[in-house]
Symmetry: C2
Subunit: 398 residues, 2 copies
């Protein structure tokens, strides 16, 4: 029998407990022996919940119990999750987590500590919820040079953008509805400003490059400025507007960014709607592949954490190779990346005067016109846009 | 340095050689040391090809060389691939393969032999070409009970069906064109009769259940009877016609089948076109996820074989847990599975008389009408259809 603990009994933590209890027989078969939850750590009480049998309020119970070999860290936030994780790893316990903030900030360091103590730090659930993407990147696509990773990595904003597209609603109304339904938080900045997606693309870029990516370096733009008029143009152009997190290989490094983009029907990300997530990976040999599924939600995320716990149980005393060193990666300057830009301006003449040979779109919005610029660098666009009266701009993903 | 051999220098074999030569630096980094191809086995000569330096015509060179720790078996066919694979495993060499016939027929047995000799038998490339699906099923989705696996697993037929849908062509014309382009073989039965997809869903069902599935038990229907008129109805119904290989959990076993189906836009498989493949996996906790990419082709398939070689190199002397025992799985009888059926018949009256409360579709084909039956079992449908004059039938995937 292998004993485990769960730190945090919030949405994901209670999900992990439920997944293991529900699928106990299957999981034990996959592990080769029984996987038993000996402790659940939470400061609160849960009267009437069967978790009470194993609930503890004291982290020291877990850290001092040598029987506990695997710990799920599903507390979220940096502190005390970081300290608890370190101490678990140093005590020879493998840690499985859904905590993207912690992985993005301290991933390389915690992987190294795990290695030094012959245990594993696993974080499949930190990106894409239930979608297997970390393990495929780490163990399957190992014969490829990763040219590009791009994805819809935030379920809340994708739900909101889908709603705006389908129902012609404006941003503020959709946000209110998403909050009422519990899809968006009362303080929705982490989602709508793109911070959540930013951490996730930082993790994926670290794995693709093998070096530590500082997420603070990544240009991040959220969806707060997207309006219903933008969607009138998108429809006309047969495009979707998505919050895209992307990372493209440039020389020996990557250029990463998060921003709303116009995506055409040819792109498999076009059809990723509602709270679904998807990650597209392009290898130099493999071509394009895509991983699609529930990017968030209690049980899908918990399923990924529990899957990591199974893998940790199968690898007691053995290190699962993870290709992510603490050495920092200097990202390529976003200003040098090239693409087309969609702009809304007062007149076709103004658009042509600013950006040259543009492609014009009339979506019936009075007093303005849509224009797609030729391919140019971000720096070039910024320079040309400086004196232009631009109503709104969305990047075009080709 | 780890030395390896490639058996077979056909499409996939030459691809594996190319992938490793092209990405040598990356691959060595991922392995942690140099991965060197010491032999390539093929009966032919390849004058002017750099492979000549390592080419051998004699399998004994490989089997007797203790330096060779990893062998890629990309010969295809059952013999001598089976004998060579056995001998390699018994000699303590890990084997990585793209050979779906061999894996479907002898997978469990070869995995057991590998285990007995502390080596690994890996076959990511046998299903879905470059799409990682075997490893995610085996290592990521381990905390879930797999309720359903369904996929578009054959690139040739998907190309043909996409072509028929887009250009309104008939089956025979599309087949000729696909053959001219090299997408379909001169003897196309393995693809168009569904045999290739059948072997692949047998492999996936074995992995989902943990037991050996006999592919001969799986009901398999190809695309040879699909006509351009069928697509007129599909368009009207806003559906795609796809060759679907599926496996659905029924009690303690699975019901597997391969057949053309009508798929609506809500299904993520709807948008999988041309030579692309995709596998949808539904877990009881995870919900639905989908894996999409190049299902065939030299480099994508070779990339998957080379990825397995990296994994084998990382696991020298260590067994990668694979959950596939030789015990046979008795599949659930296909006759008991229930669904809706689309039928083309002479008249609405005839359709109603046979199948009751049908949904009618007029696609403007003279002298007939389309009808979708209520949900019923395959047995019930067969009984009702016995005396009906049915022009054609396609199952509906909900």
């Amino acid at each position: 029998m292998i004993k485990a603990a769960i730190m945090g009994y919030g949405t994901v933590g209670s999900g992990v407990y439920e997944v293991i209890r529900t699928n106990q027989k299957e999981i034990d078969k996959k592990v080769g022996q029984e996987l038993q939850i000996k402790y659940v750590l939470d400061l609160r009480e849960f009267p009437g919940d069967p978790v009470m049998e194993v609930l503890t309020h004291d982290f020291e119970d877990i850290i001092n119990d040598d029987e506990v070999r695997i710990v799920a860290e599903v507390m979220g936030g940096l502190h005390p999750a970081y300290e608890f994780t370190r101490r678990c790893l140093e005590a020879g316990k493998s840690v499985c987590t859904s905590n993207k903030e912690l992985v993005a900030e301290h991933g390389a360091e915690l992987i190294q500590i795990a290695k030094d103590h012959q245990v594993n730090y696993l974080f499949e659930a930190s990106v894409g919820g239930g979608i297997p993407i970390i393990r495929p990147l780490n163990s399957s696509l190992t014969a490829d040079v990763i040219l590009e990773i791009s994805g819809i990595l935030n379920g809340t904003t994708n739900y909101m953008l889908t709603k705006m597209a389908d129902e012609g609603l404006d941003y503020a109304d959709v946000l209110k509805e998403a909050q009422a339904k519990g899809y968006a938080e009362l303080h929705p900045e982490a989602d709508v400003e793109g911070w959540d997606a930013c951490r996730k693309i930082a993790i994926l870029t670290s794995l693709a490059s093998g070096n530590q990516v500082d997420f603070g370096q990544i240009y991040t733009e959220g969806i707060t400025k997207i309006t219903k008029e933008d969607f009138l143009y998108a429809k006309k152009m047969k495009c979707a507007i998505k919050l895209l997190a992307s990372s493209k290989k440039v020389g020996d490094t990557y250029c990463a960014m998060v921003s709303p983009v116009l995506i055409s029907r040819d792109n498999p990300l076009y059809m990723v709607n509602d709270v679904f997530n998807a990650v597209k990976v392009e290898g130099n040999m493999l071509g394009a592949s895509m991983f699609y599924g529930s990017g968030a939600g209690k049980l899908p995320t918990a399923s990924a954490v529990a899957g990591d716990m199974v893998d940790a149980a199968r690898h007691l005393g053995k290190i699962i190779t993870l290709f992510w060193s603490p050495e920092k990666l200097t990202l390529a300057p976003m200003e040098e990346s090239s693409k087309r830009f969609f702009v809304r301006m007062k007149s076709a003449e103004a658009a042509k005067a600013c950006f040259g040979d543009v492609e014009l779109w009339d979506a019936g919005v009075q007093g303005e016109i849509g224009a797609v610029t030729p391919v140019m660098s971000e720096a070039e666009f910024a320079k040309k846009a400086r004196d232009a009266q631009i109503i709104s701009m969305i990047r075009v993903e080709d």
